[in-house]
């Protein structure tokens, strides 16, 4: 794509009006726990993958709600499913099931 010297700053704002909520709805139906997150970051702090790579379940939880699927895809790749995040979450969120269903949802909708 020609940019004619300009770059379009997609990330400057979250366009909630245009956000695609399909994936969010899919996941929320499979695992309603997604709605319980208070974004405390304990999951990210403990994450086995975050030790080495960009991986934040808290961000995933946000990206999903905001419909930022591309960011979501990048973030989710390195989760090893170890379950530490589930063990520490103060809200008792079933984090692994959410990750599982995001992967499935993306596959299903071919985002």
């Amino acid at each position: 794509m020609k940019t004619f010297g300009y770059t379009i700053q997609n990330d400057r704002q979250i366009d909630f009006d245009a956000a695609d909520k399909k994936l969010y709805r899919y996941v929320a139906e499979k695992e309603p726990d997604i709605n319980l997150c208070i974004f405390c970051g304990t999951c990210t702090a403990t994450c086995s993958a975050a030790e080495f790579k960009n991986m934040s379940f808290r961000k995933i939880s946000l990206f999903l709600r905001r419909g930022l699927t591309e960011n979501l895809k990048r973030e989710i790749e390195s989760c090893m499913f170890c379950g530490k995040c589930t063990l520490v979450c103060p809200r008792g969120i079933n984090t692994r099931n959410i990750i599982f269903n995001i992967r499935k949802g993306i596959e299903e909708y071919e985002f």
Binding site: D33, C82, G83, K84, V88, R103, E107
Partner: protein
């Protein structure tokens, strides 16, 4: 040749049944791996065949295993199976005596009394008729038991019996009809021709006093034949499919056929169809009590057979293995469930490359590689105990994942991502081998399971820390001062039922203090509820499972609850007021320097 039209339903039913069975079995054998197929052909000409026959006798006819668990139920299954078997075998012999020729029609023994009115001599008058009547009597009793089990399950010590679908219901109803109808038909004939034994003759004589037997006789035989026909037609679509299938399953098992670690084959079809739906697995399942869950082994297998398995059923299970443990048929339900999950697992968005570049491990050459496991980082007392023991005993060790590392891969496998797990495993294996250690000790039974079963290390011995500490103690390197604290031990599912490690933790605990037994232990131990294998289980329900398991463990009022898994420890700690410790902590506290 004896013939009447009423033999047709039976004969047609039997023929169809045989065709259906043979075609199914052939299909499943084709689905076996080539090596497995070879194994199964070869074993026909070996001693294994005899072993199989012996086991078929023990299990399919005597139902020894059900007997052991529930005698009343065992008796019922045994009389049905053995009784019917003998009825056919002795019936055939009898019919051969009558006809005095070796070959006769397959229905001859079944309907013999209708065609053969002449009972002369000791053999027929006292011998066969008495034997056959006795068997029939036992079968009638078994039928009464079966009917009563449906309505008064508490007599059999069962909280729940299996639920039925229409195919089962028809087969069940026809089965309940078969023996009473045989009894009525034979009695009617005996009432007219006097060819019955002590049971049928007596009954026939009584019937003769108030019933027009001559006009009813044929109808009774028609009903008997039709009940048989109905049963045969519905057998392949009902639980009774297990009767013929289990025979083949036993044989295949003897021949050494197994489900491989990574995919399901025709063998699991044999297993799936061998479920007798005895229902023993239902009361084992902790999930059902707490969450009203009803995808216990028996229903899972049923869904598989009917091809209506959904993601939910395959995932909403702790894979605790309690159902597999109790199953009298020996079906490895947990493995089937685990492998079925691959069908529902996502395949995109996994990327475990680059991990190799970021993990720096200690290059010192050591004797022992210690792998704490992800969870152990949340139970630091275990790490401290283990590294403390290494240090005090001057063992050259390397804490492989001291600053975090790659996950062992089992959690991924438990979710059905077998291929992705392999990527992780390869990398992890490389890191562990690089330590140069001869022994790999891990604190996490989940890691232990996969390290030992699937990493296939050539030169490294894999030990769970409970085994390792016990070994050190036996060798005399580790000395302990026991104290008076009362302890109970919880067997982690992955260490116990999955890996059969029951004794080492107990041995070393007995040397460290007072270990008191609990009601459900070893292979009957409960799951702590923390299982990584259950994806959809909610936190609330997990806590319920944990609390129930905890209450049972604390029944003997111990001072501490000991376990050998960081996940069990964490899970129980969340709900327990009694201190929960790992076996490593107990040993570390009590070791003599």
């Amino acid at each position: 040749m004896s013939f009447d039209w009423f033999v047709l339903p039976f004969s047609i039913g039997a023929l169809i049944l045989i065709v259906v069975l043979i075609s199914r079995y052939i299909l499943w054998v084709i689905k076996l791996s080539r090596a497995d197929r070879r194994k199964s052909w070869r074993s026909v000409f070996s001693f294994k065949l005899f072993q199989a026959v012996w086991e078929v006798f023990n299990e399919s006819l005597l139902h020894r295993k059900i007997f052991r668990v529930n005698a009343l139920l065992g008796w019922m299954h045994m009389t049905f199976a053995l009784g019917w078997f003998l009825l056919i075998v002795i019936g055939s012999v009898e019919s051969k005596f009558h006809k005095e020729k070796v070959f006769n029609m397959p229905y001859d023994p079944i309907f013999l009394r209708y065609f053969e009115h002449d009972v002369h001599g000791f053999w027929f008058a006292e011998g066969f008729t008495t034997i056959m009547d006795t068997i029939l009597l036992l079968l009638l009793v078994a039928t009464i038991m079966a009917v009563s089990k449906r309505f008064f399950k508490w007599i059999y010590g069962m909280k729940r019996t299996t639920k039925l679908h229409p195919g089962d219901q028809i087969a069940l109803a026809s089965l309940w009809l078969i023996f009473p109808m045989r009894f009525i038909a034979e009695s009617f004939t005996a009432g007219i021709y006097g060819n019955g034994g002590y049971l049928t003759q007596t009954a026939g004589d009584i019937f003769a006093t108030f019933l027009p037997l001559k006009s009813l006789e044929l109808g009774a035989w028609w009903t008997y034949s039709s009940a048989l026909c109905l049963f045969f037609l519905f057998l392949p679509f009902s639980r009774y499919m297990h009767i013929p299938t289990e025979v083949f399953l036993i044989y295949l098992r003897k021949a050494g056929v197994k489900t491989p670690d990574n995919k399901l084959t025709g063998f699991s079809e044999f297993e799936t169809y061998s479920c007798s739906r005895c229902g023993l697995c239902i009361d084992q399942c902790q999930l059902s009590e707490t969450t009203g869950y009803d995808d216990q082994a028996v229903y899972f297998l049923q869904k598989l057979r009917r091809n209506i398995l959904q993601e939910e059923s395959s995932h909403n299970c702790l894979l605790c293995g309690k159902c597999t443990n109790i199953c009298p048929v020996g079906i490895d339900i947990t493995k089937i469930r685990l492998l079925k999950r691959t069908e529902f697992a996502p395949e995109m968005l996994f990327n475990y490359r680059h991990y190799e570049n970021v993990i720096h491990h200690d290059e010192r050459k050591v004797d022992v590689a210690y792998f704490g496991g992800c969870m152990t980082h949340l139970t630091p007392k275990i790490k401290i105990a283990m590294t403390g023991i290494f240090r005090k005993l001057n063992i050259r060790y390397n804490f492989v994942d001291e600053n975090g590392s790659i996950c062992c891969g089992r959690p991924l496998k438990l979710a059905g991502n077998h291929m992705q797990a392999r990527d992780l495993m390869q990398e992890n294996k490389r890191i562990i081998i690089a330590t140069g250690a001869k022994i790999l000790v891990t604190s996490c039974p989940i890691c232990y399971n996969i390290f030992k079963n699937e990493y296939k290390f050539d030169k490294i011995q894999v030990l769970h820390h409970s085994e390792y500490l016990n070994l050190l103690h036996k060798e005399g390197a580790l000395k302990l001062t026991p104290n008076e604290e009362k302890m109970v031990y919880h067997d982690p599912c992955e260490l116990g039922r999955m890996m059969n490690i029951y004794e080492p933790p107990r041995e070393i605990l007995e040397k460290s203090g007072k270990l008191i037994p609990v009601q459900k232990e070893k292979n009957f131990a409960d799951c702590c509820g923390g299982s990584l294998a259950n994806l959809p289980l909610s936190e609330d329900n997990r806590r319920k499972v944990s609390k129930e398991a905890l209450t049972k463990l604390l029944a003997p009022s111990p001072d501490i609850l000991v376990t050998a898994c960081p996940l069990c420890k964490k899970t129980f700690s969340n709900v327990s007021d009694t201190p929960v410790k790992d076996i490593a902590e107990v040993v570390y506290e009590r070791m003599i320097e």
